[in-house]
């Protein structure tokens, strides 16, 4: 069995971290992988911290526990840093990807001495620039694909294009904006490692 990639998402209820984890599963599935995408629910409240997970592997994974030692952590809402232990168990040869306008060097001191790679992406700016509104999911999805390499870039972009054309069949004008979000996020994600 090839290496399994495990991803943990931190967001707030209503922001779409669960949806982003489902989109990542979709992208990996379309690339021929076995996938798991699952949320961890507490009380269902808009704005409360929520966690979602992905496992991506070449063979079906029978493990159905939560993920405690992820390869990658994605922080969809930077205000969670400090109140949620976002780097808990995160592997040092992995990376954390934070949605923020700050640089990786400025984020690192907030991460309790995490020694692995720190990446940042300004999902708000990219989303507003291309879609005219704040939808962090699409740029965060592209950032985690770029950083982890769990799906090959061109395959990812062409699969997502097909998926958007299907999903937004009645709103074709938003397809190009979403695709630009993906491409620009893949190019603009910054890392200090």
């Amino acid at each position: 069995m090839g290496k399994m990639v495990e991803v943990r998402w931190h967001g707030r209820g209503g922001q779409g971290a669960k949806t982003a984890s489902q989109l990542l599963a979709d992208a990996a599935f379309l690339d021929g992988k076995f996938v798991q995408s699952f949320p961890e629910y507490g009380p269902e409240r808009s704005g409360a911290p929520i966690t979602a997970y992905n496992r991506i592997s070449d063979e079906r994974c029978s493990i159905h526990s939560n993920i405690y030692d992820p390869d990658y952590v994605v922080v969809v809402d930077e205000t969670l840093i400090g109140s949620v232990d976002v780097t808990a168990g995160l592997k040092e040869d992995g990376a954390i990807i934070v949605n923020t306008s700050m640089s990786p060097a400025d984020v690192r001191p907030l991460l309790k001495g995490y020694k692995g790679k720190v990446c940042t992406i300004d999902a708000r700016e990219i989303s507003v620039r291309n879609l005219g509104a704040y939808f962090p999911n699409t740029p965060m999805l592209a950032a985690v694909v770029a950083v982890s390499g769990c799906v090959e870039r061109n395959k990812f972009l062409s699969d997502m294009e097909e998926s958007y054309r299907h999903k937004f069949a009645k709103k074709p004008q938003v397809v190009e904006g979403n695709l630009k979000c993906l491409r620009e996020a893949m190019d603009e994600v910054r890392s200090d490692g």
Binding site: D26, F34, V35, Q36, F38, R60, S62, I63, H64
Partner: protein, 394 residues
């Protein structure tokens, strides 16, 4: 050709329902089963099914509506969880004793209190004496496959009992994983049309359903119902054999995972079995003779078969994902011990209550269970036979 897809457990069940196109779906929502009627409502709106979709005012009513529909000769389904299943309790017994083969999808969730939306089997285990057949699945694929087999088992003339297709709330119901979906026409051909021998308004032989059973008749009705549950064992295996021939995936009463020469074993259900399999694989690599029995059919309980599967083990842990408050072990332990009691030689057997209200069960936790079993098998003290796992001490 089966279709490779990725679906949550809830969407897999809704997909099976769409393919089967039941006559009636009486729905009332409750987390985490709500998506099942939600997806199905879309199929109704899109004209993909011609099911009579009835939005009722409670679970007591949804099961009652299913009863009415089945009594009239229709194929009727619903879905629920937790308190919703409890609220059906009275009607479940009536449906079973009226011999109405309703298929009920249950996204298993803890019962209150404290109030909790996450997974354990306290809801479905509380209905173990209701007369429903109960099938459990490890993942979305097994839940889908169980659903495709459900109507044929329930409606078989030797059975005629309602059936619960149980999935783990959130862990399976809300997890998206790869799945092989079968083609609509092949599913329809496999499940077949429902042609009940008798029903309420059959012109040549009108039927009374649910009459008073005086003492002179009540016991005969119950013995007939008990025999139907015993007959279900044969039918479950027949349907599974045809399923394997048609779709290629094999099912029995339970899955024996690396049990050939196992000295220590777990008896476990649902998604936790998948996690425990990873522990078995690791232990086998270091030479530990560990195995696992994943129970698929809890009602009827395959006691003789489980006893045969466990008889050569030295130590067994029965993993109960519901408490039961008997003060001497959970329901799966009681059944498994009872099944093994008359064996000439039998393993030492402990009960571990775990995973209540969504408490996570990890590969490490499973390994710690095998570690304890290894010590018992080597001649160590059995210790407390009934313990809890994964809770904080203070």
């Amino acid at each position: 050709m089966s279709i490779r897809d990725r679906l949550s457990g809830n969407e897999a069940i809704a997909t099976a329902m769409r393919q089967i196109n039941p006559d009636v779906f009486a729905m009332f929502p409750i987390t985490p089963s709500t998506e099942i009627p939600q997806y199905f409502a879309q199929y109704v709106a899109d004209g993909k099914v011609d099911t009579e979709f009835i939005c009722v005012e409670s679970e007591h009513s949804s099961m009652s509506a299913c009863m009415g529909a089945e009594a009239a000769g229709c194929r009727a389904v619903t879905a629920t969880s937790s308190a919703g299943l409890s609220f059906m309790n009275e009607v479940l017994y009536v449906a079973a004793s009226s011999r109405l083969p309703i298929v009920l999808a249950v996204s298993c969730r803890a019962l209150t209190g404290p109030i909790n939306i996450n997974h354990d089997y306290s809801d479905s285990m509380a209905e173990r004496d209701s007369g429903f057949i109960q099938l459990y699945g490890e993942n979305n694929q097994e839940v889908y496959d169980n659903y495709l087999m459900a109507h044929r088992i329930a409606e078989h003339p030797d059975v005629r009992l309602p059936l619960m297709v149980c999935e783990d709330g959130f862990i399976t119901s809300h997890a998206i994983e790869n799945i092989e979906i079968e083609e609509d026409d092949k599913v329809k051909a496999f499940v077949g049309e429902y042609k009940p021998e008798n029903y309420l308004l059959k012109e040549e032989n009108p039927l009374a359903v649910g009459p008073y059973g005086v003492s002179n008749y009540y016991m005969e009705a119950h013995v007939a119902q008990a025999h139907a549950m015993m007959n279900a064992k044969k039918v479950i295996l027949e349907v599974a054999a045809d399923f394997e021939k048609t779709f290629g995936r094999k099912y029995g009463f339970f899955e024996e995972y690396r049990m050939e020469d196992a000295e220590i074993a777990m008896v476990i259900m649902g998604s936790s079995a998948g996690t425990a399999k990873a522990a078995v694989d690791e232990l086998r690599e270091s030479g530990v003779k560990a195995g696992l029995i994943k129970l698929r059919v809890f009602r009827p309980f395959p006691g003789e078969e489980i006893a045969q599967a466990l008889k050569n083990c030295k130590a067994v842990a029965v993993m109960d994902k519901s408490e039961g408050f008997s003060a001497c072990g959970g329901p799966l332990y009681a059944e498994t011990c009872g099944a093994c009691f008359n064996l000439e030689t039998r393993p030492k057997m402990v009960d571990i209550v775990f995973g209540l209200g969504g408490r996570d069960f990890t590969v490490e936790a499973a390994k710690s269970v095998y570690d304890r079993l290894g010590k018992i098998a080597a001649g160590g003290e059995i210790g407390d036979i009934y313990t809890h796992m994964g809770q904080r001490e203070k």
